[in-house]
Symmetry: D2
Subunit: 338 residues, 4 copies
């Protein structure tokens, strides 16, 4: 773990010491210029993703970028073009794909457990941290920085899971609302909230399934409820991030009198990712989804390097491999949030 970069020197140094980074820097461009760094992890507010990612791509670095990828489609397109052109490994940090219960859902769908047709995907990402109208105007509520509100901040996860679990979306209709239109800034003045507080989306997938998504930060009592349900021709799956170690599964091929949603505690050693952790019934938490994500990404980057190294060795017998061909190094760009 080579270097952590932040805007605030003192905070960055503190973070480097606590978390065990070798260096603390404040100029992110120095990171990009450092040839010893292989992987960059971009965790900044949304308005800097594009510039940083494009610079990283040009510098040939593997890129892990926080969601939402960009503030708008134009930015995202430029980023995608850049990584394609540079042929660098890249990943948007949709960490929930790697929650064991969700990874299991994907395995089960692929294995035909809920049938060969999917009829419904519905998801709701609900929080309540800005339901209080006295909550201040943080950067996540400013369009210039965040791009969008609930849609990009949390809805992005639901959209990703829709695509991960069901497939590409064919068309949508949506409605959004900003319930509290003015909030206090740090200067104790009111300013306009110009992002969505909530959004509802309906539509269809290319495979014919129906889509229903909701994202809101105005659902009192829902703290981090990313809940989805998928109904297939033979069964259903349901999940709620507030009970992230569980997956509900209804199997319509169970004996008729004994059918019911199974409450699978996804903590068995043969469940995805779980073998690295605790005994059955011993839960994992939020951060483990990041551990899985980073581990998968780093492994992919290493595999890619080794592939290239092998390829080079094969065609150029005299070629000497790099000294540390598989040593992954990270740069974590932490910028003080809020």
């Amino acid at each position: 773990m080579a270097a952590i970069c932040g805007r605030d020197r003192a905070g960055t140094v503190r973070a480097a010491n606590t978390l065990g980074w070798e260096r603390a820097v404040t100029d992110w461009k120095a990171i990009m210029a450092d040839p010893a760094i292989d992987i960059v992890d971009i965790c900044t507010p949304n308005d800097s993703h594009a510039e940083m990612a494009i610079a990283a791509a040009r510098a040939g670095k593997a890129i892990l970028c926080e969601k939402p990828l960009a503030r708008n489609v134009a930015e995202a397109r430029r980023m995608v073009d850049a990584v394609k052109r540079a042929r660098v490994a890249n990943m948007v940090c949709h960490n929930y794909r790697r929650v064991p219960a969700i990874a299991l859902a994907r395995q089960m769908i692929d294995g035909g457990e809920i049938g060969d047709r999917i009829y419904h995907f519905r998801a709701r990402y609900a929080q309540d941290w800005i339901a209080d109208e006295n909550f201040p105007l943080v950067w996540r509520l400013q369009s210039k920085i965040a791009g969008s509100g609930a849609l990009g901040d949390i809805g992005a996860h639901s959209i990703d899971l829709a695509r991960f679990l069901v497939g590409e979306i064919a068309g949508i209709s949506a409605v959004s609302e900003t319930f509290v239109k003015r909030r206090l800034t740090k200067n104790r003045q009111f300013a306009r909230v110009d992002v969505d507080d909530a959004v509802s989306v309906i539509g269809k997938f290319r495979n014919g399934a129906m889509l229903n998504l909701e994202a809101t930060r105005f659902a009192r009592g829902r703290k981090n409820q990313l809940a989805f349900e998928i109904n297939g021709s033979r069964g259903s799956l349901a999940f709620d991030l507030e009970e992230m170690n569980r997956l509900r599964f209804y199997d319509a091929s169970d004996p008729e009198q004994m059918r019911g949603f199974r409450d699978i505690i996804v903590t068995e050693s043969n469940h995805p990712y779980v073998g690295n952790w605790w005994p059955p019934g011993h839960l994992i938490g939020y951060e483990h989804s990041f551990v899985h994500t980073v581990a998968d990404f780093v492994k992919a980057v290493i595999a890619r390097k080794n592939d290239r190294a092998r390829f080079r060795r094969r065609i150029k017998d005299a070629a000497r491999p790099r000294r540390h061909p598989t040593r992954p190094t990270f740069v974590l760009a932490v910028i003080e949030v809020n």
Copy 2:
């Protein structure tokens, strides 16, 4: 309970004996012509609601009509006009309004328990009884008789609850789908399914709240899940008809460390309608919602009659009241379903 009417004589006679009706008839027009009958309860398939209700209104009878009220707006308008003109008591049988937990939800909203603003109403009515593609083409899947599919059959309840609990809807966008497009008829031939298997609706209420409704009969494992959640500025309410004796309530004004959705078992004697039933924790079932509905309607009809009787007595001193001014009598039109 004066008379029960059905198309099949044997079945109707059997029903009259089992249920205790005085007469069994097969000609519904005879019911309308009988001046001794005060109240008509129309439980037929949707294509006869309009004709029967309009006839009943013209005959001066109080009308309780099954949902959906009609196959389309034009029919419904004619029915509403008829009862308005006839000034008869009338009610659509939205029995779920009178589930104690839902009646309590309404009381709590009116009492300000979830705050003075409502942000979200989302409901899902999900069943799975036609998810099997070998299920036959019953009348509920034929547009000519049913008018619509999931929308009218079960979605009607959600729409009613949206209006009952939150208010009038300002505008919507919707998408529907027929997943299984051909089914076997009684004659063992395939015929087209021309109603919706599922529908998703998003929109806004006049009071600014957002609306998200889904109705489907293709959700494997959901047997009769009419679930809704309402998020207000101070709290939230959640309900699921599959656990119909419970109401979830989150109160954001609880002490900060001790907030959480309360699982209210709505079986206390001071809960709506419950005083007529069992001790705390002893559940009631589906049919009790009809008992509450019919009781409320009959009481309203009686009160109305008494009001008129009192009114007549007041202005015409010599007038003799009817011998049984408050004796309610029913006609239940049972027509063999499916």
Copy 3:
């Protein structure tokens, strides 16, 4: 339904009218002396069960008696002797055996669904209606009338289910407590509570399973929680009367990654007793358990009579059958409770 009997004339007459009994009487011995009455249902406080049941047995009547059967073992023995001697049909009203989910549990155990060995039966019957120390000294808190407290009033159900679902008990150890030792009588004076407020029982069944029972009326928030769990060598079953339409089932023979407690909504037409009621997902309530119990008992009495009638006809060719050999009639002895 021939006659209802109560101590208070006005209340008994009112009950007869409301519920549709032919006669209202206040002398229960008149019931026993009436040869037209075939079945007696004893719903009085516990101190009269023995006298009434023994009289009924001597009068040759079929007997349905409320639980707990008696105030003590001596009384119960005399009752059992009396019905054995008289050879009359008899049943203790353990109505929960006939809750569909519990009847299903029994079917599944008999069918080997949880394996050939049972390891654990644990049940808790918890209520809170006397947790308030200002609650008065009703008859259920007086040993002379009730015999015991939580043990007999609600624990009796758990013990019955233990025997119904697992088998005979081999031995126990128990502890009980009276938390509130003095309460106000109707005369506004304090008197001693001489029954148990709560009891805990551990022990073993003859088949080697372990037993753990708890009965309490001091569990704030538990309104009518008769919850049990049974662990067998191949699976487990769990039930809670506060969600009486559900049965949880864990099948250890499910595929390893997809195991979890199934939440069976016991409302399918092929579930026990359910075929007489509503469509899937439409719940039934507390009183349905009594309907099932009475129906089963009446059917058994009728079958028995018919058997005897057939027997008599067979051996005595000239014998004329009774005019209404199968007409069941009830006497419900309602005595104002509390």
Copy 4:
């Protein structure tokens, strides 16, 4: 983190590298002899706890010891005597006390939230990892090493929580069972299981509350269910380790119509220990309970040292404090389990 000790050299070296320990050793007595080591964490099988802990106490080291503390009371007494004589900081690793939801339960009880009297404490620790009779005879099933079975391995946690949350136990009655009496050893031979597979305990606390504990490893489907419920005069608390981020709370002083068990998601920054972790609704897992436990213990050891240092400085003006008076160092004795 100075040294990790294990019996198997290769495994210990690997663990030291992975986990970041400075040294890997195989002779635990070397640890005790090393004056640079301040704290010893004993994680070995139960039969070595006493010898190691007593040696550590004699060496003046702070001791964190895994549960169960000892194989029997005699061993435990000798250990307690040793630490008392040596006046060293010591702690049994009852890590569940430091699960935020349980720590919150304690705070709420102390704050009178469930009233001034506690009526019931009931706990069940249920697992199923040896329910399969083909599971082999591991050390946890051998009395010589483990001392007891379910009782000490998992029941110890329930007993600790009973004392932590309610108080000292006055008396008990218990029953235990070994369901599978012979199992295969590593040598593929059958040997006797001489510990309990399950135990049930009833009794009373000194404060009058009733106790009901169950520990079993034969509950199919229960993976790590440490569930408890506490009923007080004003409310109740309920917890289940399989949903470890939640605490259920019933407040009998809520308005009558709106009472119900609250489902508190214990992830708010003002909940115990949570401020160090994630935003609301973002869960923590099993290992966090150890982090809290070790952190609290290390802080206590440091505070104690500082107290003594301050004390010494006060009375001996010339005394020079140690160079690193607060540097905590650990020895983790990992011995290959199973």
